[in-house]
């Protein structure tokens, strides 16, 4: 057992996966000599050589398109898109080809690619470096969309994503990279994609969150317990697609109340889908309107005010209280 940060855990996952499988190739801007701008690919070039760790030019469409070719050929590319805000440069490749190759070829080809992308606000970064537009990817059939919440599950999920036979959009929250350490087992660990987890048990209210906001949700839950004596169950979604709607549905059947938290924009954001699934599956169990505590429908402000954009623990707590008191 080692105590790792999420960035170390992701690095470990890549190393482990690549150690065990020569078909895995890592490519992207600055992933080789520089080890990635967040050092997630640190040491891979030395270990695996420049045939397996490709420093590419600044060309997201080319990177994604080349990765699709690699995958069709039979390899397993892991692309780093330097920031999710630049993935739109490659959006056509992802929408038109990665998501459809299995389908278009009726199973003749499939594209086991992982598109790794740092996302999210809170690290004092520049414009386009703080986006949370996971909705866009979650909406596209044929893609999977995974968001780990800490070192241990990040490592397990990345290995699973690399082995998954389908394209996975893998969002890594920048604010979590070095936020805390967690025990990560020495032996390999995987986690199924498409399954959420219960991060905290509770009986009075269900909070659904993921990524960095999970930790604010947990903090709010602790405060709620201390200050209001109410126990919130906190669900960590992990996968937005496939969306595991069974766990939160089951939870709300017990608690009757739900708060959904994310830093993506509010309108047409993930919370809407989660709330709708709940309504479809557990309408009559709901005792109060669901609250959504989200990023606003504005661009993420530059860093002096990025916290004003993000759901704060206070906002989450207020949402919980409204849900509890109606």
């Amino acid at each position: 057992m080692a105590e790792l940060t999420m960035s170390e855990a992701l690095n470990l996952a890549l190393r482990e996966a690549m150690d065990g499988d020569d078909d895995i190739i890592t490519l992207g801007e600055d992933v080789g000599v520089n080890g990635g701008v967040f050092r997630i690919t640190d040491g891979l070039l030395d270990r695996f050589g420049d045939k397996r760790v490709l420093d590419t030019p600044v060309a997201e469409t080319g990177i994604a398109g080349m990765a699709i070719g690699l995958a069709i050929y039979g390899l397993k590319p892991v692309c780093e898109i330097q920031f999710s805000g630049f993935s739109y440069m490659a959006f056509n490749q992802i929408e038109a080809h990665a998501s459809r190759m299995r389908w278009r070829s009726r199973g003749r080809f499939h594209v086991p690619i992982v598109f790794r992308m740092p996302f999210g606000a809170g690290v004092h970064a520049l414009e386009h470096h703080s986006e949370s537009k996971e909705t866009i990817y979650a909406h596209i059939p044929g893609l999977k969309m995974v968001i780990p919440s800490g070192p241990r599950n990040a490592r397990a999920l990345l290995i699973s994503a690399i082995r998954d036979p389908d394209p996975v959009i893998f969002f890594e929250h920048k604010a979590l990279y070095r936020a805390f350490r967690e025990e990560v087992p020495d032996e390999e660990e995987t986690l199924p994609l498409g399954e959420s987890r219960t991060a905290r048990e509770g009986t009075d209210l269900t909070i659904v969150a993921y990524g960095a906001m999970l930790h604010r949700a947990l903090e709010a839950a602790e405060k709620l317990a201390k200050e209001d004596g109410a126990e919130a169950e906190v669900i960590d979604l992990i996968s937005l697609s496939p969306l595991d709607d069974s766990r939160f549905t089951e939870s709300v059947r017990r608690t009757g109340r739900m708060v959904v938290v994310h830093e993506a924009h509010r309108s047409f954001g993930p919370a809407a889908e989660i709330i709708t699934r709940l309504m479809e599956k557990s309408f009559y169990y709901l005792e109060a309107p669901v609250e959504r505590i989200t990023g606003y429908d504005i661009q993420v402000p530059y860093f002096a005010r990025e916290q004003d954009y993000l759901p704060s623990v206070e906002r989450i707590l207020d949402g919980c209280r409204r849900a509890l008191n109606t």
Partner: protein
């Protein structure tokens, strides 16, 4: 060296072997075997007739929109004739002749054009990608595939087709640059057919040739007479050889002409002069090859007639097969297949709702 000329590494060339009357430049004639040449001829003729047949079917409302290949047979056959079976082909959406050469069943193409996803399946063992519709978007795939070929120490190559219009798209640019950087065994074959729907070649780009775009990547480029199957064959042969030898990619521009509508949804009388089409008809790649073959006494009018008859049968049979395939297709719930390796729960619910005739939340 204050104001000096910069010497460029690659010199562009133009290659043409067969002239319009079917006369070959003897110094360049690759002297292919009769068998090989007749195979070219048959494939080009079959492609032409199949194309015409599909146009008829489309006009009768039996199949949907498609992009006719007429006029571009030499550019396609001359190129893919250089590929081994396990080389890779990455087409755009007008590569009927190339697909025929590679072994795609005609009935599969008809099924596709009749609107069934099942038609998109490429036979196992045939290393061809399905049709790619977003212009230029397939080009980077040929870089990744070719990289894979080298990575696994094979001498396989990947050849991709695209049009003059596609060269204006970003993915063309990014792909060629990547291919040079990683020295992938990719052959980029531009079929410059002078039109991108209604946009003529000279409104697509101001470069005098498409071939010279290779210079932007330090890549060798060559322009060939795309209606001359021998010239295309020879230029692509060089490019394939270079790729197999580990010397990286090449851009080959085949100058040809789209003799038909852009697709069956298009009306070219709105934007182009019939005269230009007539001029190009004189350079028809099939007629030119026939003249050459007759001259070489490898082909007679009777041979052609025989071939035509056989082709007519093949094409009709293909449509028969397609109709039977359509009749045998299972119910529409196949639309829920091939999204993922497995079917996630919400999708299974949707499928069940569909089958059961009611929406599932």
């Amino acid at each position: 060296m204050p104001r000096v000329k910069i010497g460029l590494k690659y010199q562009l060339e133009y290659l043409s072997i067969l002239d319009e009357s079917g006369e070959a430049d003897t110094s360049l004639d690759p002297d292919l075997s009769k068998e090989q040449l007749l195979k070219f001829h048959h494939a080009m003729l079959l492609s032409r007739r199949f194309d015409e047949y599909m146009l008829k079917l489309q006009r009768q409302g039996r199949i949907g929109t498609f992009a006719p290949v007429k006029g571009q047979e030499a550019a396609q056959i001359g190129a893919v004739a250089n590929l081994e079976d396990d080389d890779w082909l990455v087409p755009a959406f007008r590569e009927t002749a190339a697909a025929i050469w590679r072994g795609t069943p005609l009935s599969g193409m008809l099924l596709y054009n009749a609107g069934y996803n099942e038609g998109g399946r490429i036979p196992d063992e045939q290393n061809d990608l399905p049709i790619a519709i977003p212009v230029g978007s397939q080009i980077p795939h040929a870089v990744g595939i070719a990289y894979g070929c080298r990575y696994q120490d094979t001498d396989r190559v990947a050849l991709t087709f695209f049009g003059d219009g596609a060269t204006s798209e970003g993915p063309f640019h990014e792909a060629l640059n990547l291919a040079m950087l990683f020295e992938t065994p990719t052959i980029f074959v531009c079929q410059n057919n002078h039109w991108a729907i209604s946009t003529p070649r000279d409104r697509q780009t101001r470069s005098e040739t498409i071939a010279q775009k290779a210079i932007a990547y330090g890549m060798p480029g060559i322009q060939v007479d795309g209606n001359d199957v021998l010239a295309v064959y020879c230029a692509v042969r060089e490019a394939v050889q270079r790729a197999r030898d580990g010397d990286g990619p090449t851009l080959v521009e085949c100058v040809t002409y789209r003799m038909e509508v852009h697709t069956t949804a298009d009306d070219p009388t709105r934007y182009r002069d019939e005269e230009q089409v007539e001029q190009w008809a004189k350079r028809d790649p099939i007629e030119r090859l026939q003249k050459y073959l007759k001259h070489k006494e490898m082909l007679t009018d009777e041979d052609i007639e025989k071939d035509e008859k056989e082709i007519e049968q093949t094409v009709k049979q293909a449509w028969q097969d397609t109709k039977e395939q359509i009749d045998a297709l299972s119910d529409a719930s196949v639309i829920f297949e091939y999204l993922y390796a497995g079917r996630p729960p919400y999708l299974e619910e949707q499928r069940e709702g569909f089958v059961g005739g009611q929406d599932n939340g």
